[in-house]
Symmetry: C2
Subunit: 671 residues, 2 copies
Amino acid sequence: MALLETSKPSQGSVLGSVNPDLASERQTASFSVETLTALLDGGAEQTRIRRAVVEAIESDPVFSREYQYFQTQNERYEAAVRKAVHLQKKMHEMGWTENGPEYKYIYRALSGDVAFLLHRIFMRSISVLGSDKQIAKLIPLATQHRLIGSYAQTELGHGTYLQGLETTAVFDTATQEFILNTPKVSAMKWWPGDMGRSATHTVVFAQLYIHGKCYGIHPFIVQIRSLQDHSLCPGRVIIAKTKPREIAKVRPDGTYVRQGSQKINYFTMTAVRISLISDEVLTPLMKACTIATRYSVVRRQSKLKPGKVTIAMPMSTLSLLHQLSSNREEEAKILDYQTQQEKLLPQLAAAYAFHFTNDYLQELFNKGYREIEKKNFDMLPELHALSSGFKAVITQHCTAGVEICLRACGGHGYSLLSGLPSLYTKILASCIYEGENTILLLQTARFLIKCFMAASAGQPVPPSATYLAAVKHRKCPAKNKLDFLSPDIYIEAYQHVAVRLTSSTAAKLQDLIQSGVKKHDAWNQCTVQLVQAAKAHCHYIAVKNFAETVEKLETKAGIQKIMKHLCDLFALHGIFSNSGAFLHDAYTSGAQMDMVTSSYLDLLAVIRKDAVPLVDAFDFTDQSLNSALGSYDGQVYQRLYEWAQKSPTNQMSPAYEKYLKPLLHNTLSKL
Amino acid sequence: MALLETSKPSQGSVLGSVNPDLASERQTASFSVETLTALLDGGAEQTRIRRAVVEAIESDPVFSREYQYFQTQNERYEAAVRKAVHLQKKMHEMGWTENGPEYKYIYRALSGDVAFLLHRIFMRSISVLGSDKQIAKLIPLATQHRLIGSYAQTELGHGTYLQGLETTAVFDTATQEFILNTPKVSAMKWWPGDMGRSATHTVVFAQLYIHGKCYGIHPFIVQIRSLQDHSLCPGRVIIAKTKPREIAKVRPDGTYVRQGSQKINYFTMTAVRISLISDEVLTPLMKACTIATRYSVVRRQSKLKPGKVTIAMPMSTLSLLHQLSSNREEEAKILDYQTQQEKLLPQLAAAYAFHFTNDYLQELFNKGYREIEKKNFDMLPELHALSSGFKAVITQHCTAGVEICLRACGGHGYSLLSGLPSLYTKILASCIYEGENTILLLQTARFLIKCFMAASAGQPVPPSATYLAAVKHRKCPAKNKLDFLSPDIYIEAYQHVAVRLTSSTAAKLQDLIQSGVKKHDAWNQCTVQLVQAAKAHCHYIAVKNFAETVEKLETKAGIQKIMKHLCDLFALHGIFSNSGAFLHDAYTSGAQMDMVTSSYLDLLAVIRKDAVPLVDAFDFTDQSLNSALGSYDGQVYQRLYEWAQKSPTNQMSPAYEKYLKPLLHNTLSKL
């Protein structure tokens, strides 16, 4: 970034006093922001607890993020460790415990800039898979952070496909040890957070070999650094220190004994996939919406009533050189442009839609957990299909949303100081970890195909898939654009598309197989369409759940009304931007699609009025947004100016003496 | 990034010896890679010159990019200056001149990591707008880099809408000076590259005031730093030093005299918009395709013939714990998965499509320039509409393409070492500068609406818009999926959609105005659809031009055949992924859309065979790709391993002594 003042701006800092352009947006809210915040938190009491946690953390200078955007990777790492360590003291001081109501708000309050994130996964793995002896030995140490754990699964050459892992663990009956080895470069453990620099212990996944026979992937507890001086333990010594037999149940003579319920582990990992949605995916999108929306009512550009010339002129400098300007008339807020509304408001609607989807999934998982406690595992396939599909759909949708918000802020959105690039970097990662999205969607698709086959054969299917049995060949009954504001109409449209995509792909799959194509080749030739079917399934459930949630909302405080608008927008935007799926078999006609478009564009203008209150309801503090564009007071330019001055790029660079001076003084030859 | 070796990999460096998985892809090329490279360069002689420039630059250690990914922003700046300064010597040594055939390859060879990029714009502005006296004084100094120029247009508060600029230039008849001033924080000049740290002079755009009357935006030459010690010149001193009267033609008494042809300036800026497409947009996409495609034939994951369990199993660790692995059978290259082909190959087709679009635009501009030399400005509106629309469409399409390539490489794509994140950061910027894309698309839309009205009234319209007169209400004549491999069929489909979107939006606009809505409000209410129309227009021209280019290609060496496949893929992918536009008025039926889908998916499998030769033809050196995933030898894992060791993050961090040790030794309380 570069800036120049030809003369010092007269204006002093106005930070804190709310920009009138932003203040006016708040005066016209059609609903109670505080009530909506409480709804999002799950109750006013939860809001109170969350704010208390945020206040305690943000008032502590050790957790400051002020210079974050100017830090090197090493400086960011150091800060993350400092915060992680200080957090232990803080929790003790505040009396927060891992099981207390405050705990879940700590991560959000820290905006994730904290180390040891895999420590809990390490502890959970030990608790779930370890022997009583291991638990007794390691968990107390880990709880006090006398050791720091990591989770070493991914290798340089293998990620999602764990069967392909190349690290081996050979049981040596003589020494009663497991010899872990990474025989090739591609077998090297790669990516696990904290392992490279912080962790003293890790859970290493390796192919177990006993007497030359491979027993597949098993986890091994490995100490990787000295607890005394943090020096890296040499390979073989590590192994000798562990007692993995107690996890693997391998008898001294090498007899292999299975243990543990595969299904419970399976459930645990599916739960992890859901748990990341809120903090890692929804929060970044909500922050991006807050930043971009507030900026879009502060930023003014051109006139809505410009006089033909402005629109007809090219966006070029020189062509404007001799044109008289007419700055008397005020420029329009960019959020008043339909195109800007069409960029931001669907992202806002998606943030709310997926927040409620997340509630739905959490509830389903709690139910599933209760069933499993009764040794009933019937819900697992459905839970797996939903967690896989929604992890992929929500991370992709929200990542695209953050990018749209960033681009909608132009050059300033592109600047680190907007906070948007770091949100994008964070959310993009969520598309990659915890299962690659395309593979996850194919998991969901396989579930759908199975359910469709079962349903067609009149067999029972899980609740979320029963609709697949109801193959209707009706047409969309909508008569005018207002009909498309009726949830029954659009929910049925989404359902119809999901059924059509699943059934047509199932048919293609069968045709290919009947025509002699091998099963796996046939599957591969259908995967592009299978992915579409899985997305349609999730989109249908998200729309249905949003509409049902709105139904249940209290009518007071205008909450239900505005949520209904957002639900309609979410549904119609999906139809508008994916119209081919709805038009394909003429379920929806072109004339009806015009009604959808019309209702959709009308909604943009309606929701635009409440855009700022709707992002205010997310209740992010300025510190958590850490954005020069998105602060509550809307003092965008003053903040950019003041923050830019903190940048090391605005200090004199050695480049002048080294390179520029000889060039400018024409003494280059002497170089 | 974090890595762990439980034992040192036995394998030594194999860099240089081509990975067999990549080598095998090259043995089956259906065409001559060298011939295609020459076609892309515009002739074998051009290829020779380009390679000579690349060789000269890459063999010079001063231009090395080796540690680029580990540099701080200040270090990158210093390197960019070092390279820019050294480039002057290099050009002198090599005998390269700004008008020589080598010049256009220098920037590509440097991958843009060089300072003073605005210096040429500065020089061009002086040459075009300066007085003879200014040109005589400044151009020689600038040519020898005795001064460094910048271009200060954008302000904190205004970008694309230049009329809104707030910097003022008040003519003082007493001192015969212009007093430049940025009266508010939002008026501060922001963004101009080099200005913040390197430049000594800049062209400042300001509202000219004479005797209290505003004459609009004018450029002023301002010296901002001392040529002696590079210290920042205090505001008013700067002004006194310049002689802007000679640009602005203001007589001593303050009489304002216009000069220069607005139209020529206008043409110049439109040309700039075109010129950025090749280096700033197409090159990054071609590099991303090269990296992702090569990686996708080296990376292996899971089996195509997996045995049901693998696909049915969740992508979770623990569920796989007790499953026997079967690693004897080799895993599949990820490019053999239809879903991976569907991610990468359309981006590859787009890279070729837009390369030829760029040729078409360049040719059109040369023609336009010849006309202008004859004082014929008739082509300007069309050139402006095309340059605006294609700048927006190509930057958006290619930015999305780079992101898809990045995500298609999973975690390794997300790593800086892949080269993909820096390509994404670079190309994303192109969506923002030289005119915000939505505004540019609306410029094109306005041109289309005018042409449509004119055409409907039987008046003549520019060549690229004549098709708007040919409003057909026919249906798509395709009978089977092979018909969709006929350019006539898909070109007409694209044309039909462009006409429909333009005409329907024109009708909506008229209806609104006739119903009493004010013109500017009516326009605003149509902008979402106007943007769709502009995109459809550009997409139609791109498809048509690609097909016409293929027609003209020599049939030998298999070039025409493979280019025809890519043209078909580009066209069908556009229909497949935007099917609603084609289904809307039933021009294309659902059954025909199934044919499109079928032909599209068939093409993926066909082009996949030539995927590696097709990216090899882009002819990027390993140094220019600077990617651990994309190098010619395909030694992905070894390179990641070796490069990671250069990272400062793999050195011991002070965080241990400061924070970790007290924590692990449980002496925190003493902190």
